[in-house]
Amino acid sequence: MSTATQSPAKTPRGPKPKRAFSPANIMIYGTLFVVSIYYLLPLYVMVMTSLKDMTEVRMGNIFSPPVEITFEPWVKAWAEACTGINCDGLSRGFWNSVRILIPSVVVSIAVASVSGYALSFWRFKGSELFFNILIVGAFIPYQIMLYPIVIILRELGVYGTLTGLVMVHTIFGMPILTLLFRNYFASVPEELFKAARVDGAGFWGIYVQIMLPMSLPIFVVAIILQVTGIWNDFLFGVVFTKPDIYPMTVQLNNIVNSVQGVKEYNVNMAATLLTGMVPLVIYFVSGKLFVRGIAAGAVKG
């Protein structure tokens, strides 16, 4: 009796006690720790460097926090840094990127969601072939298509404009987004579609009233994909636009790689962090939405 109360672990009853330092736990947390250090350390160095002034940077203690915190490099990166003849900092590139991003994301997702919906519910003759061609398109390296696209854009009269770049981003987003939406809609029970047809809803009626409201999670996934992809794009930006309308990534490269004068590491760090801010914010904001979207969409028959 007394032994049982003293050491309850000896009588197997109730939940099995778990060991805190099991080999599995050590592996999982050990790996997580190493990987986080690997990714967080450079970020730490960047943030610290961007808050120092140049005299402190030159002392070379990259891991030490700034003695005197200054936001001067951030202001300079945003509003004063020079690329070529423009000396209005990254702000120009930021707004260019926004003007590229919003139409590209909206148009590509709108088109891809409708075509994904059509490909899974309104099969037409050759729709499978069409889809396969689209998927093959996703595997052709971009570099092969650069020059033909330059010619096409020139002939259309949109070479070197934001419109041209938006068109390119929209088209290159099609394969993966269409695949994404088609597979999502393929998982929607076909009877739902049949019921809506009996209820007299047409192509757009079913899309807008039935399919859209239940596809929030997949839209969030598509937005994350497209926003990060387009924001981080460098190749298309540098090839299809002109210096005045360079997206932020291209401008960042020009600031960091400018050879005249002193290398202002603190400004470069601040500029890089500013450029990376948008995808980061998207992940944080939509991550929450994503979970909520899945919860709201979870209605199994």
Binding site: P189, E191, L192, K194, A195, A196, R197, V198, D199, G200, A201, G205, Q209, I210, P213, M214, G297, A298, V299, G301
Partner: protein, 362 residues
């Protein structure tokens, strides 16, 4: 079968193939106004496909479909005057129950007060008034299926189509809802077509059952007719549980010869004038008498008890007669032991004879 003068639904020479696969072959079916028809068959027999063709959800390869005297072969599902209930309920997950009920009416631009009146009426009939503001996710399976029926109900149509509506429900709920569907039919008097693979649903609900196999209708008749005069061996096997017992032999001058002896077929109502030849004799387990009753039957056999399944109300017993296995349905109070010899008797009036090659009824 009498010719139906003004059929509610008339299917004429319907063909449907997917590529090289013929699913429905030259199918003809006339369904009377207000009739409850069950399409019954095992999976892959084309019953759901036929229903989808009637609904207009599948394009036919050939033939015509008429609903309420109108040729609707090329019409959209919503233009055919049908309401449909699906196995998976297929409720719109992001709409409330009310939204689900009114969706079709809103698409058809029915006036608001008319919509409200119809929803109220349907909700009252199906007793789903307290659920109107809920989302489908917050409903139980039975409630969801009621809403799905309501969605067909508010459309105020002549024809209801049910595609295995009770298959996703548990046994108790299935039995309850089956009764409700039957009552609904009596109350509304609409034509209803109901697809199922469950013979109990078919027997209890139908005015007429169409038994399908490989895209053909094998027999289209009342449950009584299907049970008592199955048109061929497949229908005889398909209906009834446990399944009908068969003895192989031959018909010869009004007598049946088999390994079990020669028995007179007096009282059997032959459908063909010259039934002589090799045949199957079928007899249902419930038509086999045992004990003292067996002695009163014209055909008598003796079987050894092999296996006993007491169900409470009945006792199912498998016996061997000669080298044949047969199921016998005995009274629930009967006490039988394995290995015991029991007398079995039946009369030719309750037997069924089928040609061995064509499997058609003799």
């Amino acid at each position: 079968m009498d010719q139906i003068v003004n059929p509610s639904i008339s299917i004429k020479n319907l063909d449907l193939s997917f590529g090289a696969v013929e699913v429905l072959k030259n199918l003809n079916l006339d369904i009377a106004d207000g009739e409850f028809v069950v399409l019954l068959g095992s999976s892959g027999c084309g019953k759901s496909t036929l229903l989808n063709c009637i609904a207009g959800l599948l394009d036919v390869s050939d033939g015509e479909i008429h609903i309420s005297g109108k040729n609707v072969t090329w019409e959209e599902p919503s233009q055919r005057g049908i309401g449909m209930v699906f196995q998976s309920y297929a409720l719109y997950p992001q709409m409330t129950v009310e939204g689900n009920l009114t969706f079709g009416l809103r698409n058809a631009r029915v006036p608001k007060d008319e919509i409200a009146a119809r929803v109220e009426k349907a909700a009252k009939i199906l007793q789903i008034e307290p659920l109107l503001k809920r989302k489908p996710a917050a409903l139980s399976g039975g409630q969801r299926q009621r809403v799905a029926i309501g969605r067909a109900l508010v459309r105020d149509v002549d024809v209801f189509l049910f595609d295995e509506p009770l298959s996703n429900l548990d046994a108790k709920l299935r039995a309850d809802l089956r009764v409700e569907i039957k009552q609904l039919h009596q109350q509304l008097g609409n034509t209803m077509i109901y697809v199922t693979h469950d013979q109990i649903e078919a027997m209890t609900l139908a005015d007429r059952i169409a038994i399908m196999l490989n895209g053909n209708v094998l027999q289209f008749a009342s449950p009584y007719e299907i049970y008592n005069h199955p048109a061929n061996k497949y229908v005889a096997t398909f209906i009834g549980s446990p399944t009908m017992n068969f003895i192989e032999g031959s018909v010869h001058g009004g007598k049946f010869d088999s390994a079990l002896g020669t028995h007179s077929l007096d009282g059997y109502d032959f459908t063909t004038p010259s039934p002589d030849g090799p045949a199957w004799l079928g007899i249902r387990p419930e038509h086999m008498a045992t004990g003292d009753e067996a002695a009163n039957k014209p055909i008598q056999l003796e079987g050894r008890v092999e296996f006993v399944e007491p169900l409470g109300s009945d006792t199912l017993t498998r016996v061997t007669v000669g080298d044949q296995h047969m199921w016998v349905r005995m009274d629930g109070q009967a006490q039988v032991k394995i290995g015991e010899m029991i007398p079995i008797g039946f009369s030719a009036t309750q037997a069924h004879l089928f040609d061995t090659t064509t499997e058609e009824r003799l």
